[in-house]
C-alpha cells in the first residue's frame, strides 16, 4: 500500500512538472501552435509536396478505361506496377470520363493529404510519379467527370460509404480488381460476402489509422468488434488468449475474407489452427484421446471462458459428460469434495481430473493409455 501511495505521488509530481513547464515557457507555448494544417496554418510546402502529383491527362481522357494504355509510351521512367491500374466502370455513370487525381484533390485537398499518408494511395503515387496517374482516385472511384459537375448526384462516382448508390458487389469488384486471390481466394460465397458486407466495412484506404492493413479502426480487434462485440467481451473472462493485451488478433485464426473451413478458419480444420501455436499438442501420440484429436472445441472455448484454460465446463463435470465408466469417474462430486469439505477429494480439488490424467491431450508413454504418464 505504501508503494502504491508513493507512485501516486510520483505521478502527481510529473503532472505538476509538465504543467509548470508549459506555463512558464512562452516559447513552448508559441510552439504549441499545431505544426501543420491545423488551426491558422496554411497548406505548408510539405503538405503540398505530399499531395498527389499533378496529372497529365490532356491526351488521355478517352483512354481512361483502356488498361492497355502503355506506360512506356508516356515516359522514359521505369514502369511501376500501378501504371496500368484500370479505372473501373461505374454502372451508375456509364458515360463519365476520367478527370485525373489533381482535379479531384482540388476540392478534396484534405482527403488528399490523409490519403497520401496511407499505403494505398502512396503506392499509386509511385506509379504516378513516373507516368502520370490515370490511376489514383479514379482507380477506385471510377471516372469522375459526372461527379465533378454534379457532386450531389448519387452514384456519379463509386462510393464506399453508408447509403452508397453503388452496390456492395460493385464496390467489392473494384477492390478485387487488384486484390484478387491469395487471402481473398474464397471471398465469393463467403459469409461476409453473402451477408452484404463491403470491403470498406473493415478497411479505410483513405487514412492511416492502423499500423497495418489499411483498417477502418486502429486495430483488427476493434474492427471485428464493430459487429462481433459478443465475441470480444468473452476475452474479458478469466481465461482467454492474449487478445485484449494486444498480442493477438482475430485474424491470427480467422480469415475474414472467406475460407473453406467454418468458421472462416485459415487451415483445413479447427485443430490445425490450434496446432499452429500449440504445436506440442499436434503429436501424433501413440495414445490419442478421441475428442481431443477430433476437435479442440469439444472442451475449449477459444474466445474465453470462466474456467481455467478456456474450458467450457469446470472439471470434473467437463470430463463426466462422457466418462460415465464404472469406478471413480461416475460418482457425483459434491461441495464436500472441496479442500475444506468433509471429504476432500483429488477428483475435484485443484486441477481435478488432470492432476492424475495430466497428459490428457495424448500420451507418448508406453504406460500412458489413460494419460497418467
Amino acid at each position: 500500500m505504501r508503494t502504491f501511495r508513493e507512485s501516486l505521488a510520483v505521478l502527481w509530481i510529473h503532472v505538476f512538472v509538465a504543467v509548470a513547464l508549459m506555463a512558464m515557457n512562452p516559447a513552448v507555448l508559441a510552439q504549441q501552435e499545431p505544426p501543420k494544417n491545423g488551426d491558422g496554418a496554411k497548406l505548408t510546402q510539405s503538405d503540398i509536396e505530399r499531395m498527389l502529383p499533378p496529372t497529365d491527362m490532356g491526351a488521355g481522357v478517352h483512354a481512361a478505361n483502356d488498361a492497355s494504355l502503355s506506360p512506356a509510351s508516356m515516359n522514359t521512367g521505369p514502369a511501376t506496377p500501378f501504371d496500368a491500374a484500370r479505372i473501373p466502370v461505374n454502372p451508375a455513370a456509364p458515360n463519365a470520363q476520367a478527370i485525373g487525381a489533381k482535379t479531384c484533390s482540388a476540392c478534396h485537398s484534405l482527403e488528399d493529404i490523409h490519403a497520401s499518408h496511407a499505403i494505398h494511395v502512396q503506392s499509386f503515387q509511385v506509379g504516378a510519379a513516373n507516368t502520370g496517374p490515370q490511376a489514383a482516385c479514379e482507380a477506385c472511384h471510377g471516372p469522375g467527370s459526372d461527379h465533378a459537375k454534379n457532386p450531389a448526384a448519387r452514384g456519379s462516382i463509386i462510393a464506399f460509404t453508408h447509403g452508397s448508390a453503388s452496390t456492395p458487389e460493385t464496390q467489392a469488384t473494384v477492390c478485387l480488381g487488384c486484390h484478387a486471390g491469395g487471402a481473398r481466394q474464397h471471398w465469393l460465397g463467403s459469409v461476409h460476402e453473402s451477408r452484404g458486407l463491403s470491403c470498406t466495412d473493415c478497411h479505410n484506404p483513405m487514412v492511416r489509422n492502423s499500423p497495418e492493413g489499411a483498417l477502418a479502426k486502429s486495430s483488427i480487434n476493434q474492427v471485428c468488434a464493430t459487429c462481433h462485440q459478443d465475441i470480444l467481451v468473452k476475452f474479458n473472462r478469466r481465461s482467454h488468449m492474449p487478445l485484449p493485451e494486444g498480442q493477438m488478433a482475430c485474424t491470427d485464426c480467422h480469415n475474414p475474407h472467406g475460407s473453406i473451413t467454418k468458421p472462416l478458419l485459415k487451415t483445413d480444420t479447427v485443430n490445425d489452427t490450434c496446432y499452429s501455436c500449440h504445436a506440442e499438442k499436434r503429436g501424433p501420440f501413440i495414445f490419442e484421446h478421441a475428442p481431443v484429436r477430433e476437435n479442440c472445441l469439444n472442451c475449449h472455448d477459444p474466445h474465453g471462458s470462466n474456467q481455467q484454460t478456456l474450458l467450457v465446463l469446470p472439471m470434473p463435470m467437463l470430463c463426466q459428460q462422457c466418462h460415465t465408466m464404472n469406478g471413480h469417474p461416475n460418482d457425483l462430486q459434491t461441495r464436500q469434495s472441496m479442500r475444506n469439505g468433509l471429504t476432500p477429494d483429488e477428483r475435484l480439488m485443484g486441477r481435478a481430473c488432470v492432476t492424475c490424467h495430466s497428459n490428457i491431450h495424448g500420451s507418448n508413454n508406453p504406460s500412458g493409455a489413460m494419460f497418467h504418464q
Binding site: 509538465a18 488551426d39 496554418a41 496554411k42 489533381k102 479531384c104 476540392c107 459537375k149 457532386p151
Partner: protein
C-alpha cells in the same frame, strides 16, 4: 525508493530536453517568429454553417456606410468593389465575420467590420441578399472562360466551378440529406461579379492570402491549378455573364 529516484530523473530529463528544445524550435520556426508579432487568427470552420437569419429591414438602416463603395442597391460604385446585391446572405455574413475576426484582411473592410455586432452582420447580410442582383448579360457558353467554368480542365487539374457555384453561377441549393455534406449556403453567387474583383479574389485564394477558412482552403487548392490566363478568362466570363 530507487523507483522514486528513477522517476525523478526521468522528470528532470524531460524538463531539460523540453527547455533546450524550445529555443531551437523558436529559432528555426518561421511560424513561431511571426507569432510574436501578430497572432494569427484561428481557423474559421464553415463546415457546419447553416443558413443564417437576419432582419433585412433593419439591415437596410445599417447599410448606409456600405453604400459608399458597394452602391446604394448593392451594386458596386467601382469594379474593384464586389457587388453584394442578391449574394447569398450566409456567405455575406461569414465574410463580415471573417473580416472582423481576422481570417480575411482588407484595409477598408477589416476596419468596417470591427465595429459590427453579430446581429448587425446578420441584418446587413440579409439586406443585401434581398436586393435584386445586377442584371446579367448574354448567356454565352462558347468562350474559354465558359468552358473552364462549365467543364473545368481535367488535363490541368481544374474542376468545373459549376459543381458548387451552380450551372448559372448563381449558387446551388441542395436538399439536406441527413448525411455529412458541404455547407452549400456558404458558397457565393458569382454571376455578375466584376472581372476585377473576381481576379483579385482568385488571386488571393491562389496566393494563400485567403486561406483561413474551410471554404478558402478548397479555393486555395483549386486556385493552385489556375494560371493567370485562366483567371482572366473566368473573370471575363463571370462578369459578362
Amino acid at each position: 525508493m530507487p523507483t522514486l529516484r528513477v522517476l525523478g530523473l526521468i522528470a528532470l530529463a524531460t524538463t531539460c530536453i523540453a527547455w533546450t528544445e524550445a529555443p531551437h524550435a523558436a529559432e528555426d520556426g518561421p511560424a513561431a517568429a511571426t507569432s510574436t508579432t501578430t497572432k494569427p487568427a484561428p481557423f474559421f470552420d464553415e463546415r457546419r454553417q447553416t443558413p443564417i437569419e437576419g432582419d433585412a429591414h433593419s439591415g437596410e438602416g445599417k447599410a448606409t456606410v456600405c453604400a459608399a463603395c458597394h452602391g446604394p442597391k448593392g451594386v458596386a460604385v467601382a469594379p474593384n468593389f464586389p457587388n453584394l446585391a442578391g449574394q447569398s446572405a450566409t456567405y455575406l455574413y461569414l465574410q463580415l465575420k471573417q473580416f472582423k475576426d481576422g481570417q480575411r484582411v482588407d484595409p477598408i473592410m477589416s476596419g468596417q467590420a470591427a465595429n459590427l455586432g453579430d446581429t448587425d452582420m446578420r441584418d446587413l447580410a440579409s439586406y443585401f441578399a434581398s436586393l435584386p442582383p445586377k442584371p446579367s448579360g448574354s448567356n454565352e457558353s462558347q468562350s474559354t472562360g465558359a468552358h473552364l467554368y462549365l467543364q473545368g480542365d481535367p488535363a490541368r487539374g481544374i474542376p468545373p466551378c459549376l459543381a458548387c457555384h451552380g450551372s448559372d453561377a448563381t449558387g446551388v441549393r441542395f436538399e439536406a440529406s441527413g448525411k455529412p455534406q458541404p455547407p452549400w449556403v456558404s458558397f457565393p453567387r458569382l454571376r455578375g461579379q466584376s472581372a476585377i474583383y473576381v481576379t483579385k479574389a482568385l488571386g488571393d485564394f491562389r496566393s494563400g492570402v485567403r486561406s483561413d477558412s474551410s471554404n478558402a482552403r478548397i479555393m486555395q487548392a483549386i486556385g493552385g491549378s489556375l494560371s493567370d490566363d485562366d483567371i482572366q478568362h473566368l473573370s471575363t466570363y463571370l462578369s459578362s455573364h
